[in-house]
C-alpha cells in the first residue's frame, strides 16, 4: 500500500509533466501553422521545375547530357531528410523502415548518404553505412543556402566523380496534421520515365533555347535539385511539427488520465484512513465506557 505522501508527490510530478507536454504542444502547433504555409507556398515551384526538367530530358533525349544519362547502378546516393529532435511520434522510424526496405530490394547496390537532420545521421552511423555529408541545425525559417552543402556533395559524387549513378531523396511528406507519409523520389539522373504528366500533344520537337542549350541547362539543373531538396526539407518540418503536436497532445491527455486515477486512489486511501481512525477512536471510547 503506497503512502498518502508518495501518491501526492506522484500527482505533483505528473502535473509538471502535463504542463511541459502542453507547452510543447502549443509551440509545435504555432510552428506547424507557419511550416504548413511555407509548404503550400513552395510546392508549386518545385512541382513545375520537376516537370520542366523531365520534359526537357524527354524532348532532348537525343542530346547527350550527363544529368539525363541512365547508367547501370553500382552505387546510389541517398539524401536522407530527417528531424534534428525527437518527441515527434514515429515519423523518423517510419522513414528509416521504408529506407531499409528500399535497400533490401536492391541487393547488388551500394548506398552512400548525405543526411539533413541529426536523427538520420545517427541512423546511418548506427547501421554502419558510408556517410558523405552531414547537415544539421537547418532552421525552419531558413533559406535555400542552408542546404547547399548537400547539393555540393550531390554534384561532386554524381557529376564530377561519376561515383554515384543515381541520387534519391528520402523525406516525410506533409499530407495533413494527422497524416505524414515517408516518401522517396529519384533526383538524378533526370529520367523522363518519371514525368508526372503527359507530354502535351503536338509537342514532339525540340525547344528553342536562348541563349543556348548549355547555358540554360547549366543554370536550371542545379536549381532543380536545390529547389526540390529544399522543398522536401520544408515538407519534413511541417511533418515534424504536426507529428510532435499530436504526440504531445496525446501525452497531455494521458497525463490527465493518470492524474485522475491517482487522485481517485489518493481520495480512497484518505477516506479509508479516516474511517480506520474513527473506528479506532470509537472502539477505544466504547472500551472506556464499558470499563
Amino acid at each position: 500500500m503506497p503512502s498518502l505522501r508518495s501518491i501526492r508527490s506522484r500527482i505533483k510530478s505528473v502535473k509538471n509533466t502535463r504542463q511541459i507536454t502542453k507547452a510543447m504542444e502549443m509551440v509545435a502547433s504555432a510552428k506547424m501553422r507557419k511550416a504548413q504555409q511555407r509548404v503550400i507556398d513552395t510546392r508549386p515551384y518545385a512541382e513545375k521545375i520537376y516537370d520542366l526538367m523531365h520534359r526537357i530530358a524527354y524532348l532532348e533525349r537525343s542530346f547527350p547530357n550527363p544529368y539525363f544519362e541512365v547508367r547501370p547502378v553500382r552505387t546510389a546516393g541517398i539524401v536522407l531528410v530527417s528531424t534534428d529532435r525527437g518527441l515527434c511520434g514515429a515519423i523518423n522510424a517510419n522513414l528509416f523502415r521504408s529506407l531499409t526496405r528500399f535497400m533490401k530490394e536492391r541487393p547488388g547496390t551500394n548506398f552512400e548518404f548525405v543526411t539533413i537532420g541529426r536523427k538520420g545521421r545517427d541512423f546511418v552511423r548506427r547501421s554502419g553505412l558510408p556517410l558523405q555529408g552531414v547537415i544539421h541545425g537547418v532552421k525552419d525559417r531558413g533559406t535555400i543556402e542552408e542546404i547547399l552543402p548537400a547539393t555540393q556533395v550531390v554534384i561532386e559524387e554524381f557529376y564530377a566523380k561519376r561515383h554515384w549513378e543515381e541520387v534519391w531523396i528520402f523525406y516525410t511528406q506533409f499530407e495533413s496534421i494527422m497524416s505524414q507519409k515517408p516518401r522517396h523520389e529519384k533526383l538524378l539522373p533526370i529520367d523522363p520515365q518519371f514525368l508526372t504528366e503527359k507530354i502535351p500533344a503536338g509537342l514532339s520537337g525540340e525547344y528553342l533555347f536562348e541563349p543556348d542549350r548549355r547555358d540554360i541547362l547549366d543554370v536550371l539543373i542545379p536549381r532543380y535539385f536545390e529547389t526540390v531538396i529544399f522543398q522536401r526539407v520544408l515538407e519534413n518540418f511541417a511533418s515534424e511539427y504536426s507529428a510532435r503536436m499530436v504526440a504531445m497532445k496525446n501525452a497531455t491527455a494521458n497525463a490527465k488520465e493518470v492524474i485522475y486515477g491517482l487522485t481517485l486512489t489518493y481520495n480512497k486511501l484518505r477516506q479509508a484512513n479516516i474511517t480506520k481512525e474513527i473506528s479506532e477512536i470509537s472502539s477505544g471510547a466504547e472500551a472506556i465506557s464499558q470499563g
Binding site: 525547344y207 533555347f209 547555358d215
Partner: protein, 143 residues
Amino acid sequence: MAFMLSLMTQERHLLSEEVDYIQAKGVEGEFGVLTGHTPFLTLLDIGELLVRNKEALYSYFVAGGVVEVLPDRVTVLADTIERAEEIDGKRAEEARQNAMEALKQPISPESRLGYEQVLKREGVRLGILSRRHSTRHPGSLEE
C-alpha cells in the same frame, strides 16, 4: 485564344490563369508570346513582365529565372517577382541614390558590378512605377 500562364518564385505562387498575351525581357532581348508559340526556353533578365488578359494589362517587376513557353501554356519561374503596385518607390529611390553615391568612390571591380546591378534593378522598378499600367491584378491568390 488564351493560354495558361503560371507565375511563381521559389517562395511564392503569384498567378495561374488564362491570359491572351505576355511580353517579357529575356537575356537576349524582349519577346512576346501568343497562343501556339513554338516550345521555347529562355533565361530572364531584370525587366518588366507585361500580361494582357482581354482588355486589362498588368505589369510585374521580374529579375532572373527562366521562362518555359509551350503552345498552350507559359511558366515563369523567376528569382524575384513583384506586382507593379507592390513596388516600394521610396525604397527603390534610396537604393538607387546609395548605389550612385557608391559608384562615385574608387571601389573594387566586383563591388562596382554589384552596384551597377542595383542601379539597373532599381531603375527598372522606378520605370515600372512611373508608367503604372493598371492597379488591379487578375485573380490574385492572396486576396
